[in-house]
């Protein structure tokens, strides 16, 4: 009897604890949420800078800003898993450019079309940043984000190696021209070949080839565009004849050739890893987003230089990076208003001037981008500002993630010699058209 009573008392205690535990935190969250906003972003240097500016915003307005950083490889998964809830844990997500389609069409992002012109000087911001980071569909004038971080892919190089008189003389003797930062992909190939000395643990170049998320596609597509290929026709969504055209095949063969001059493990180098092979002093030229380059400067100092993506003929195209601020449609209107306050504050020219002083705080503000002060502030600002005029992005339709995983897989198979470049690109064309057809986007030419 006593035993039964004891069990009954224990059960009642557990029940009371559970009920109390379920109820109380909600009330606490409600109180705190009224005065704070949560921003989710990837784990990298600019997010630190955003937190610092958020602290200034709190001093001015009393609204706390919490920037949560999530590792790049799991960023997309975590954000979209959170969007699957009725209410998101973040008020603002600094979403990748390709997400804009899914965010806009699935009711995840709050539409900002009417609000933006009332709060932000839209003419002050680079048109490509609006088009690629904020607008969906392209050219519609409907906005679902405001520019936060504008980014592009570039190269970091060993300035000390390039300036070494012995290296210069040897290069001239071999290639009959001066050793300089490569302006064309052909020159790039020669410089990579020249510096590739595996016996001395020196390697020529490290392109982006990571199989997780998007780094292989981001690294490859700009070479493809520069060679004259493309992912497809944005009007008809036809991929056959575009992604597998002769120029695209040639570009993939070229990427494979570059890998001959790459360090060990170069068949799977994501953003942090190309940076790593630069920081460990082994590789002459590494491809990465400019926002990763502050670490290269911190580690390598004056030995690090930076240059824009090379051209082929008169064509130079750079993979767009960067993200826009999007307000979650799954938070209460009061939180959305606080989020708007922060975005309007952040995009003021005075605050953007502070933003560019943060590591990799890349602005889309045209006046600041053109200013000598910005271009001279860091060794990578000048090539970054130049890159903005050559930006292009992957598909940003709601089906982008399926398109991306197909591209990642088959380009990867071409690098692994499982498929020839032509076979891999044919497979991408076929799969991409299938995805577009299922989504009802594919049109007859």
């Amino acid at each position: 009897m006593k035993f039964l009573r004891a069990i009954g008392i224990c059960g009642a205690c557990i029940l009371v604890a559970l009920v109390a535990g379920c109820g109380k935190p909600d009330a606490d969250v409600g109180d705190a949420a009224a005065k704070s906003i949560t921003i989710w972003w990837a784990q990298w240097a600019p997010a630190e800078g955003l937190q610092e500016l958020g602290n200034e915003f709190e001093k001015e307005t009393g609204i706390a800003v919490n920037v949560s950083q999530i590792p790049w490889d799991s960023y997309q998964t975590k954000v979209f898993m959170n969007f699957a809830n009725k209410r998101t844990d973040f008020d603002i997500v600094v979403g990748d450019s390709q997400w804009i389609g899914v965010g806009a069409t699935k009711g995840l992002y709050l539409e900002l079309t009417d609000w933006l012109p009332t709060a932000v000087d839209m003419d002050a911001i680079n048109e490509r940043a609006w088009r690629y980071l904020c607008e969906y569909p392209s050219g519609s004038g409907k906005y679902f984000a405001a520019p936060c971080e504008t980014d592009a892919i570039g190269f970091a190089y060993r300035k000390d190696w390039f300036e070494d008189p012995k290296e210069k003389a040897a290069f001239k003797a071999k290639y009959n021209r001066e050793l300089a930062v490569p302006d064309t992909w052909d020159e790039f190939r020669d410089v990579a070949e020249f510096f590739h000395r595996p016996d001395q643990k020196r390697y020529g170049c490290a392109p982006l080839t990571g199989r997780a998320y998007d780094s292989l596609t981001m690294g490859f597509q700009q070479i493809m565009w520069t060679f004259g290929g493309s992912w497809g026709d944005p009007e008809t969504y036809r991929a056959d004849g575009y992604v597998n055209c002769e120029a695209s095949v040639e570009s993939l063969e070229f990427l494979k050739e570059l890998l001959k001059f790459a360090p060990k493990g170069a068949l799977n180098l994501r953003y942090s890893q190309t940076l790593e092979v630069f920081k460990n002093g082994t590789t002459a030229m590494v491809m990465d987003y400019f926002a990763f380059f502050p670490e290269a400067v911190d580690e390598m100092g004056d030995k690090a230089g930076f240059f824009i993506m090379p051209r082929k003929g008169d064509r130079r195209v750079v993979s767009l990076g960067g993200q826009g601020f999007s307000i979650s449609a799954k938070v209460p209107p009061e939180q959305q208003e606080l989020a708007k306050k922060f975005i309007a504050w952040f995009l003021q020219t005075d605050i953007q001037k502070k933003w560019i002083t943060k590591p990799a705080g890349f602005t889309a503000n045209k006046l600041i981008l053109q200013s000598e002060e910005f271009r001279q502030a860091t060794p990578y600002n000048e090539p970054f500002a130049e890159s903005l005029e050559h930006l292009q992005d992957f598909w940003n339709v709601p089906q982008y993630s399926e398109l991306l995983s197909v591209a990642q897989k088959y380009v990867g198979e071409a690098l692994d010699d499982v498929k020839t470049p032509k076979e891999a690109l044919d497979a991408i064309a076929k799969e991409h058209e299938k995805i577009f057809a299922e989504a009802g986007l594919l049109k007859e030419e």
Partner: protein, 295 residues
């Protein structure tokens, strides 16, 4: 009165476990089956009934066939290597010797560690450029393969880690099987002047077989779901190492196709159940056979 209370008490003890089973196992399973007939996506919109189109898509795509092939190769290689090594280790450890318990403890450590953490450690060890394994190979004048990125080596590297982690499990079960064989049977065989090979083939192996089959069953069902090592070594979207579980993850969390991913999950479940029932029938068969022999 007392028996009524005892009856209630029984339900009181069984009830919570039953609720947990229904909430955490049976409901998600049924919900997954329902989702597999819809076009549900990870975010946005409701789910529409689409009949068996997800299943027809699963069976018509090349990636499913490739994932089945990769998974089959992995399971067959991992389980057979682990079984052979585990059984050999068990035979070596069967007899008592000085330091046996210390060696046994050390051998069991890999099995007790988290697969995800171990995969990250092995990622460092196998790194082509700075990994300790390649440094050792270089020191003895051997080549330095790119374990984690060379197309032919990626799956082998995952296999190596799996074998390292799970051979102790096979060893443990084989050791239990060996210790359960009565000593008098060996003594009788010696009196009959049976040779070591004959004793092994006619006594040791058959008497261990039910436990070894159980170990193979457990490892096979586990290896079929291989996911964490693939994620840590190459990521889920690398064609060379994409197992069924990795493909399922990619469909649901990479592509956001919850309905399609649920269909993959159902297919994987059917494969696991089919294999498990084959093994359990085999175990039953062995036990019945042994029962008859003993009679």
């Amino acid at each position: 009165m007392v028996s009524q209370r005892t009856g209630l008490l029984k339900y009181g003890f069984v009830g919570p476990a039953l609720v947990v089973l229904i909430v955490l196992n049976i409901f998600p399973l049924l919900y997954n089956v329902v989702l597999s007939f819809t076009d549900a996506e990870l975010v946005g919109g409701g789910a529409r009934y689409v009949g068996g189109s997800n299943y027809s898509r699963v069976f018509s795509t090349a990636e499913f066939v490739e994932a089945i092939r990769t998974t089959a190769v992995f399971v067959a290689a991992a389980v057979s290597i682990e079984l052979c090594l585990g059984f050999c280790l068990a035979l070596a450890l069967q007899r008592g010797f000085r330091g046996k318990s210390a060696i046994l403890t050390v051998l069991l450590i890999p099995m007790m560690l988290s697969p995800a953490v171990m995969a990250l450690f092995w990622h460092q060890i196998l790194s082509g450029d700075y990994g300790i394994l390649n440094h050792i190979l270089a020191a003895v004048g051997l080549g330095q393969p790119e374990w984690l990125t060379a197309p032919g080596l990626k799956l082998i590297s995952i296999l190596m880690i799996d074998v390292w982690m799970w051979t102790p499990f096979m060893m443990l079960i084989a050791l239990a099987g060996l210790n359960s064989i009565p000593q008098y049977i060996y003594e009788a065989a010696e009196i009959d002047r049976a040779g070591a090979w004959r004793i092994f083939r006619r006594i040791t192996l058959p008497m261990c077989a039910p436990l070894l089959a159980l170990a193979v069953l457990l490892r096979t069902t586990d290896a079929l779901k291989q996911f964490d090592l693939v994620m840590a070594v190459t990521g889920p979207n690398d064609a060379a190492t994409q197992t069924l579980s990795a493909l399922l993850f990619q469909k649901v969390f990479g592509d956001g196709k919850t309905g399609l991913g649920s269909a993959y999950a159902c297919v994987l479940l059917v494969i696991v159940i089919a294999l498990a029932s084959v093994f359990t029938r085999y175990i039953d068969f062995i036990q019945r056979k042994q029962g008859k022999t003993q009679q």
